[in-house]
Each structure stands twice: as structure tokens, then as C-alpha cells.
Amino acid sequence: MSAILRFFRRFSAARVGAVLMKEFIQMRRDRLTFAMIIGIPVVQLFIFGYAINLNPRHLPTAIAIDDPGIFARSLTASLRTSDYFQIVKATNSPGEARRLLDEGDVTFVVEIPENFTRDLVRGAEPQLLVETDATDPGASSYALAAINQLATSALARDLSGPLAMRSATNPPFDVVVHRLYNPESITQYNVVPGLLGVILTMTMVLITSMALTRERERGTYENLLSMPATPLEVMIGKIVPYILVGYIQATLILAAARWVFGVPMLGSLTLLSLTLAVFIAANLGLGYTFSTIAQNQMQAMQMTFFYFLPSILLSGFMFPFDGMPAWARVIGEILPLTHFLRIVRGILLKGNTALEIWPNLWPLLLFMAATGAVALARFRRTLD
């Protein structure tokens, strides 16, 4: 207890200010870091954001009609007006449609089986078969999401009068989708907010992992240690400037999300800013811990990438979190990115409130405190 008291009595805001000012000046002069701070978000955002934003339309589609009933005609008409699909072939032979798919002439086959209309009227929930070329799963995922909606609304118009009750069972038929790859339905709304977390993770950890290693490599560490600044003061002084940098990046990304990608922002941006501070600090704390361990900048870089990979793969950014095996989910739960992804998607897309994000906020706070403590414990006051 007395050790803690002594610790705080020694604490000097002025010394923190000294380190902070020094870091700001150095950051401003370090063109490479500066370029990285601005460049990484922009490049990643537009590469990933647009790659996934290539929401493909006019996908070549074949329709195989075994049942020339009224509903088949409505569905065909509705597929034709939708710009997701471009019907290149209407046939009554499922075999021929399949052949077109095999040969890559079409990406989609929509098959209306025999007696579709009759079964529908009877309330027997007939099957609407959709086959898709799964070799490029990303290309068709939007269209797949659209087809269910299209079919339902197309038929709703026809299901009037005595048949209206059929449309109450929603949908009055089964859309059976055959595909080999079944990702969580990824949309750019999901990806762009996710990129906010990914980019911050990468740059924040990378930058602070250099914080002490650079001083050590340049020989200035010895000088710093011979001065009366305490480990806590040095840590705060070296971390705070990058919180600001993190906010600049976040602002860039959120602005692009809003105006370039049209991501809806339902929740409170103030709440998001507050959680951003915690998330950024957690990553900076981790990077700083790396820098107390790494002997040189190369090692610091390696540690950062060693951390970055699982963050991308196991956080739910790349693959649906719930689809991962149990061990991977355990690792994922430890990673700040996992929790931040839930928070940012929750706030932006679902309008989550503080109470709703709390279950994912406290792990971030815990992570931040833990890395800070480890960094302080690891900080060597001597050159031994």
C-alpha cells in the first residue's frame, strides 16, 4: 500500500507533458510513420471496402420452368426487373439449365418444379430450387439474399383474394439454396465498421511496439533512463499522442463509412467515441508491452504480426464467429478486436445503447488494464 502511495506521490504531470511533447515532435518529423498513419487506413479501407462493395449485379441466370403456371410467370417477371439477375435463358429443361451452370455460362439457376402452383395453392409449401456457382461465393451472396425477398414479394401480388391467407405463412414456399459455401451474410455494412477495428488494431499496436525499441536502438534509452522520469510517466507520455492519432484514423474511416459506403449509423456516435478511446488504449497498451520485450524493431514488427493474424482470423472479421470451433472462440474472446467488432456493429447497425454494449466493453477495459500493468512490470529501469 505504501509502495502505491509513494508511486503516486512521485508522479509528475509535468514530466508526462515533457515526454508527450517530445513524442509529438518526433511523430511529426517521422515521415514514414506519418504516412503509415494516414496511408494504411485509406488504402485498406478502399481495397477491402470496395472489394467487398463490388456488390455484383446483372448476374447471368437461367430459369428452368417445369410448371408454366401464373406464379412462374410472376417470378420470372420479377427476376427480370431486379437488376441482380439477368436472365440469359428460360427453358423448361432443368438438365439444360444445369449444363449452362456447369459450363459457367450462368451463375444462377432458378428452378420452378412441377406442380409448384398447385402445391402453393394447396398450402403444401413447394420448393423453389436455386442453384448457384459456388466457386466464387462472394459474387453471389448478395443476389442470394435478394432472391428470397424477390420471390416472396412477387408471389404476394398473386396471392390475393381467397389465397391471401397463404402469404401469411411467410414465405408460402421454401427457397432451397444449393451452395457449397455458406458465409454469414456479409454486407459492406458489416465490413466497413469491422475495418475500423482491424485498421486501428494494426496501426496502434505497430506504432507503440516501436515506442521503446526505437529508443533502445538509437541509444537514447540510456539517456532517458538516466533522467528522473518514472516508467508510468514515460508510458503515458508515449501512449497519449497515439490516442489522438487513433481518433484521426477513426474519423477518417467513419467519414468514409458514412459518405462513401453509406453505412447506416443508428446508435450514438458519442458512445462510439468513448468506446473507441478504450479500444485504442487497449491496443496501445499491448503494443507498448511488446516494445518492453522486443530487442529491436524487427522483433517488434514480428510480434505485431503474430498478434495481428489471429486478430483478423479469429475475431469474427473474416469468418463468422459462431461458426468457429470452440478453441478458436476461446482465443477470439480474449482479443480486443472481437469485442470491439460487436460493439461497433452493435452501435452503428443496431443502435445499441451503453447497457447493451457493456458485456463487450468490460473485457476491453480489463485488457487495457492488464496490458498496462504488464508493460509497467516489464519496463526495465536499468540496462541489464
Partner: protein, 304 residues
Amino acid sequence: MTQPLAIDVRGLTKRFGQKLAVNGVDIAVPEGEVWGFLGPNGSGKTTTIRMLCGLLSADAGEGTCLGLDFRKQSETIKRQVGYMTQRFSFWEDLSIRENLDFVARVYGLPNRKMKVNETLEQLGLVKRQHQLAGELSGGWKQRLALAACMLHDPRLLLLDEPTAGVDPKARRDFWDEIHMLSGNGITVLVSTHYMDEAERCDRIVYILNGNLIARGSVAEVIADAHLFTFLVEGDGVRALSQKLRGAPGVEYAAFFGAALHISGRDRDALARALEPYRNTPGLHIEESQPSLEDVFIHLQEQAT
């Protein structure tokens, strides 16, 4: 009454793995004196200095630095010590002014701006204050480093090879400054390889392979070595050096400029070895007081 000691440590020891870098070194420097710390590269000077200011933990040893336990109170010692590292260790991507300003802030100096301005003026760097420290030449870097580690008015200066690679004029100015500081009561321990600098110190200590093997004033260190030296000059002296090396009584033969120094602890044997050449025309042989460098080379030869 004896002068209080600014540094008073005994049995200072440091190991790096298997290597014994510093082995039971005792140093006692009275306040206000300038002590020279000499020894070949890798002998343990930097390691000793780092232990004194708490940058390396000592494996053994006890004592005080400025009256404080050097092992337990290193944080307090740091505030009163100015340590100039062997390699320039200020921030090369900060300007001269920014470096000084940073130091002043970290030490929490009152009248920071004034102090920095004063220092810049003393350094004669007012015009170049916004230049990056990394762009300075060796001599200027060293002056900046000294000024920066003096900024907080330390009572003890630990200078690690401050003049390595600095031109003669700058070295001279540097030493004038050291003497001025010492006149103001500041204690200085300075490591160096230059003999002329050693001779400007009140006392010197000589360390070899981690062992402190000589100490005292320059005259004392020379006397303690019990060394005799003959100077040989003139025609054919280069050929002679080959013949004399390894002759009985000749512990070493080395050139200092054009003169060949022949040294050994047995004066008679030395004289006998030189006897055959006494009357060689054009060759001039005379006995001389051994220089500090003769003594150091002798000490180093002895150890191998």
C-alpha cells in the same frame, strides 16, 4: 579534516554471463576533484560508470554516491548526477532547443525558458537552435550533450569518453570548461584515452580487464610502476627496434613519434641491452622519465 567523498564505493562487481566485466573496483573521489578514468577498450569503464548512476545493477559492492546508497537510492542520485554517455544519446530528430527543453521539463526546472536560453547563449548556438541535433558535427554534439547534462546543476558529472573523435581545439575548450565547473565545486569523473587529458586530472585510476590496477596523481602512478625508460633517436632507429624487442631486460620497445622508447623494470639490464649501440654514429641514446603512456603500455603488456 578530509574532504567529503562524492563517490565512495568498494568492491564494485559486474558480470555479463560468464564474463567478469568489473571485478571488485574501489573508487573514492573527494568532492570538487576531477578524476580521470583510464584503461583500454573493453576494460570496464562504461560498466563502472553505469553502475555508479544506477543504470546497471551491481552484482556486488557497496558504498555511496553523493552520500546516498548507490544501490538503493539510485532514483534520488539520478537527479543530482549529470551523465554523459559514450555515444551521443540525445534525440537526433529533435532540434537543439527541443532537446534542451525536454531535459529541462523532465527535471522540472523552474524558469525553464530562461535556463534554456541561457544555455543556448553560452553554447553559442542561439542562431542554430532550430537545427536538428543529428545535423551537428561531433564537437558540437559533444558540447550540446555536456550542456544538456549540466542543465539541472548536478553535483557530480560522470563523463564517458566525452572527447572521443573531437578536434584538438574543441577538446581544449571542453577541458577548460571542466576545470571551470570543478572550480565551482562540481566533482567530475571522466573516462578518456588521451594522455594529455589524463594529465589535466587531479587523480587518475587505471582499469584493466575489470581490475583497478593503478591510482593516484600522474606522478604517483608513474612512480609506482618502477619503470625505467630510454629514448633512442636518429638514423637506423627503425632497424634497431626489431633487434631490441625481446632482448633481455627490454620489456617493451615502442615508437612515440620519431623516438623509440625502450622500457623495463631492471635499469641495469636495460642499459646492458643498449650498450652495443651506444657508439653507433648518428644514433642518440638517453635515459628519460617514463611517460604516463609508457606506464600504461607497460601495465597492459604485463597483463598479457
